[in-house]
């Protein structure tokens, strides 16, 4: 097949699907990146948080209240609480260690196992899915192909989160504390910033974002215990490409990977799933700070 004959195959729906995949990746990656930028912790359990957000949303919708948006908020908050609890009980103990980075990675990996198995214990190992909220649950036909309108909602929400986070970090008092602490923790502490509380707050916020990503994705994917392990690797790729600690980087990186996942099957060639990992290696070697700058950018 020649290149020219391939080009018309990219439909509008492929682009929308790619962006919606990117949006859910952004929501998990931006929290991961934020936590790393401020706390210096690479949270291996972030994929587990995402999965937990989806499960809690499903459980609330089916058992408590038949309103997707309320359930999604509950899912995001529940994950935030779990995240804060993990920060307070475990990760906090490691900040002053010589090898704190690696110990944190190993401890959060321990939580990967714990969350995975707990979810399996409560909800079993099968997979669940739900419909998008009724208002948006219709097909949009554009350019000869169709996609669910809810995908546009997810993309819109991801953009809203990006803008909201940016305003929050650059325009609010708490944001200025976050920026200050991320660039110089000792100085911030001397200036009277309650660093431990700020850390818990940031970990909570990052976890809420992961939970929100899981909640919003629940109608677009099958939710199973394997989900966390699948998504964390994609999130690592995104934050490395975008730059650990960079929010805009997480957005661009997530959209790149999302488009790649959407268009990949169209351009089958041996090694196509290897490309993101290759990109990760190259970025790490040539620009370990990522393609984009630091926090708040």
């Amino acid at each position: 097949m020649s290149f020219t004959s391939l080009v018309p195959l990219i439909g509008i729906s492929d682009v929308v699907i790619g962006l919606s995949l990117g949006s859910r990746l952004f929501l998990i990656a931006v929290g991961l990146s934020l936590i790393f930028g401020v706390l210096g912790v690479l949270n291996f359990a972030h994929g587990g948080f995402y999965m937990l957000g989806a499960y809690v949303t499903l459980a609330v919708v089916s058992n408590v209240i038949d309103n997707f948006w309320v359930a999604a908020a509950a899912g995001a908050l529940a994950v935030g609480v779990v995240g804060a609890a993990i920060e307070l009980s475990a990760i906090r103990r490691l900040y002053n260690r010589v090898d704190s980075d690696l110990d944190q990675l190993i401890v959060t990996f321990g939580f990967v196992l714990v969350i995975h198995e707990t979810v399996r214990f409560i909800w079993g190992s099968g997979s669940y899915s739900i419909d998008p909220p009724d208002v948006f649950n219709f097909s949009v036909a554009l350019g000869g192909s169709t996609f669910n309108a809810y995908r546009l909602v997810v993309i819109g929400l991801a953009v809203a989160v990006l803008v909201g986070l940016w305003l929050f970090i650059t325009r609010t008092y708490f944001g200025s504390l976050v920026r200050g602490t991320s660039s110089d923790r000792e100085m911030a502490a001397m200036l009277g910033v309650d660093v431990p509380r700020l850390y818990t707050g940031v970990f909570f916020l990052g976890s809420v974002l992961a939970g929100l990503g899981g909640a919003l994705s629940a109608p677009l994917q099958a939710t199973s215990p394997a989900l966390g392990d699948q998504v964390i690797i994609d999130a690592f790729i995104v934050v490395v490409i975008g730059g650990l600690g960079s929010m805009s980087g997480a957005f661009v990186g997530a959209m790149l990977i999302g488009m790649m996942q959407s268009l990949g099957p169209q351009f089958i060639s041996a090694g196509s799933i290897a490309i993101p990992f290759l990109a990760m290696v190259i970025v790490l070697l040539l620009r370990p700070e990522g393609l984009f700058g630091g926090i708040g950018e």
Partner: protein, 386 residues
Amino acid sequence: MSATDTGGRVSQFGSAVAEGWTRERFGLLGAVALILIAFGPPFQVYLFTDFLVVALFALGFNLLYGYTGLLSFGHGLFYAGGAYGIAIVLRDLGPVFADVVGAGISPLVTFVVGGVVGLALVVVVAVPVGWLSVRLEEIYFALITLAFGMLGYSLIIQDPAGLTNGTDGVIVLLGTVDLGGVSIRVGGRRLYYVISAITVVAATYGVWRIVNSPFGTVCKAIRESPDRAGALGIDVRHHRWMTFIVSAAIVGIAGVLRAGLASVASPGLTHWSTSAIAVIATVIGGATYFSGPIVGAFIFLYIRWGISRFPALEAYWELFFGALLIAVVLFFKQGAVGGLHLLRDRLVGDGGGGGAAEAGSRATSAPDEATESSDDDARTDRGDTS
């Protein structure tokens, strides 16, 4: 070596064994135990072989982590490299060898050649991967090794060269050796155990020699302070690279043995979750000790087996290890071996047991002194549990 010399050594060894709980006595008991296990029930022989292979995997991993301070989340790549190397040789070259050396002996020859090819493949991969990876440190090193591991996973799954048989992996059939009417199955439980035990003991001894050589001392110096080591004229990056290659090679040997044991080289071996097994075993056992990964592998496999005897719990063994991992890192980084040392010191008192250093303290003695003073452990001096 003259006869008297040998005799002298033997009597020296004998008296060392008689003296007390020395390294020699432990060695002798270990050797006797290894031989006795060969006569155990078949499933126990299998389980113990499994333990030996995982122990070697973790030991190789810890050469980089415990001794050099580099945490790799991609050592599954080398585990799989060894396994696929031998599996592909057995599949594609088995018949060729049968023509050359005769069908009777060819399974054994193919196995040995396959093992060597697997090891060579691992080294060929580890040289560039290590060279690139050691440019990074800490979390970035963990990420790049993770990326290399998953890159390998993707390539094995997609199989662009038509060698790895995609998701299903390559089936490993070790065959039967026929010599003068006697036929022995290479993959037979007991023979395979003997092969594995000899290989693992030899490789472990090799690692032991390395960590107690000047090379190992440099490793520790780099881990303690890369800057100071650099100031002393040590090429830190080069040294890390060399350690990376040796570490990968050890893991590759474990991978070769894994292929024959599992009877299949599957892409899951390269997945990060397999790399994590080495991390779990090492951390639980105690990364600061030479024997930490071995004890950790023992705990990992036997507790898992114990759990598997109770089907209600079987599905949740990962929960147990997740919790254990968290607890060890948070509260007792010396791990199981550290715990054993502490226990022994409590029981025997400070004077007994060859006078090993207390688990929590930092052994700063010269390497030879360290080996004299501890029974079976060279600490990697990584007791930084602030």
